[in-house]
Symmetry: C2
Subunit: 345 residues, 2 copies
């Protein structure tokens, strides 16, 4: 018998489909609430309830969420945004104390994922292949000069998201100019908040990998035990998110994901980018949450939202964590929804 | 009584919603075919029939389409891609001779829209406000030096699409680097085909306008007579396409669109970008086709696909060209569809 449970998705933004997946997972036994700091949030359209929260960096953000959970009998929080993950990770014990499970990893794990320099160091030190990465112009120029790497070089924010402020340099002049530009873009955007940790080296320089890109969902249960690794072949990208993909059988890549997840010890989903160059998998990025590629795994028959609901209820979720169809090509398609904010909440 | 009619949408690509709009417009009295040179085309998913065509620049492209129209009793062709428009425009008489209406403007009109330098000259010479635009580094540097314009300067392909290879320079060093980069990006992409017309000046330099952006549908009937101008306030962009917008009343902007359409004399839809700076409308871009913003007009109650079908049938379409609701905010949302190509055609 299913227990009724209300769920809050924070930083829900554009992820209307996840609201739908969680609603379906509850099957009417509870409500799905969507939270976001902006009232213009497509996810609100799908949610049973929605709430405009304070900004993540606002002092009242966590107190607000705790009050909201009490008032609305929320039992489960799932966050969909990197910056939000860290704030929630640091306070997950307080939520647990009032009976709310936050599906989030430890702050140390979030830090390894959000900080792309830490991602690089973690992967390298744990024996995974990674593109050569540098934190300063001097270091990358030295590596170029001594032939360790060649152009093109990717220049990106160390704490970055999607394709924001990512440039590709084909020569030294571009390298100099883009390094300065990425830095300026960071401090003209909300990326400046996370970058404040280390302003002097908030720009990364990375060897460009040329190969086929894969997206992985490395799925752990709420105790961090490995359950399933899904491998998606990326067929088209748009704004830094997977636009067209196919779930495939690729044991070597799957094994890389599973092994990395075990080294990392995350909770729930780990979205992972892997490039395969000459049959060798390289780890590029980690996000300790549902990523933009998750719907492709869902499309292939995986149902992590349902598994999470079952785990909370103490049930087994093997069926939900089984891939039902491989090699179908799925594409994100466009439809319009009315998101006029009429102040209902 | 409605006449049965089959419709072919060429270069249908991602525009599944337009296939749906045309199917609804036919109401079962005919089939909607979607054509594209790539078999991995989301629009195929929605179409009654689909066909993988030769590449637009292939010698067999037009003969192929003419054969296809005969074999499938196609009466109407609507193209959704700039490069395709020009090829079809040059051959529209041949299609007309075999009883097929191609909803496309004259080649001269397509040229004014596709070539952003011609857009600039056309608008300027017809008394519309335009951002200062230059075809060479020398000219833009002179304009910067004598204070005609200031940084930032936008650098973009003269024959460009969406946000491909568009950069913003904040100083002279960036200007030099991006000028070279845009040129290289053009010749490493399919933009090189149109750019072959004038390789020496295929990069444009444009004053950056800071203001609110609007998207317009300037709608003419199949004889080029003005019927309706829709003004959309753009609230969010993604990959160079409108992601969130609202149809608004804005007489000054509407009048700009209507007047420009009359000067241009296009057929069907003209998608137009306008920036309003200090209450003055500036014309930025023109596309003589359904643009990525059209669904927002449709959402507001306009039904151009139905109007086109009615015009072909010799009927009045005033009702279809009436805006039914203003000021609702609509957002493009994501859903997944299965586009696995199983060789059905």
């Amino acid at each position: 018998m299913e227990i009724s449970m209300n769920i809050l998705l924070t930083s829900a933004g554009r992820r209307g489909y996840l609201v739908e997946f969680f609603k379906k997972a509850l099957g009417g036994n509870g409500l799905v609430h969507a939270g976001n700091s902006s009232p213009v949030s497509p996810a609100f359209y799908y949610a049973d309830r929605h709430v405009v929260t304070p900004l993540i960096y606002d002092d009242d953000y966590i107190p607000f969420l705790k009050r909201y959970c009490k008032e609305n009998d929320i039992k489960l929080i799932v966050s969909l945004f990197d910056v939000d993950l860290m704030v929630l990770a640091k306070h997950r014990e307080e939520f647990a104390a009032q009976g709310v499970t936050v599906v989030v990893s430890a702050p140390e794990v979030i830090d390894i994922c959000n900080d792309k320099w830490n991602t690089y160091v973690f992967c390298r030190d744990n024996g995974f292949n990674v593109p050569a990465t540098y934190r300063s112009l001097e270091d990358v120029k030295k590596a170029l000069a001594d032939g360790t790497i060649n152009y093109p070089v990717m220049i990106k924010p160390r704490w970055g998201m999607g394709s924001i402020a990512v440039f590709e340099a084909d020569n030294e002049q571009e390298l100099d100019v883009f390094a300065e530009k990425v830095r300026r873009d960071i401090f003209n955007s909300y990326l400046k908040y996370e970058s404040a940790v280390d302003e002097a080296s908030c720009v990364l320089f990375q060897e460009k990998l040329c190969g086929q890109e894969y997206g992985l969902d490395v799925i752990h249960d709420l105790n961090g035990t490995q359950k399933l690794t899904v491998v998606r072949k990326k067929l088209a990208m748009r704004s830094g998110e997977t636009d067209c993909a196919s779930v495939v059988r690729y044991p070597e890549v799957e094994e890389t994901g599973t092994r990395l997840g075990e080294a990392l010890g995350h909770i729930g989903n780990l979205d992972m980018d892997v490039f395969v160059v000459d049959k060798v998998p390289y780890v590029l990025e980690l996000n300790a949450r549902f990523g933009g590629g998750y719907p492709f795994s869902h499309f292939a028959g995986v149902d992590l939202p349902k598994a999470i609901v079952k785990w909370i209820d103490g049930e087994d979720a093997s069926e939900e964590l089984t891939i039902k169809q491989y090699d179908r090509i799925a594409q994100k398609d466009i439809r319009l929804i009315d998101i006029t904010f009429d102040g209902r909440d």
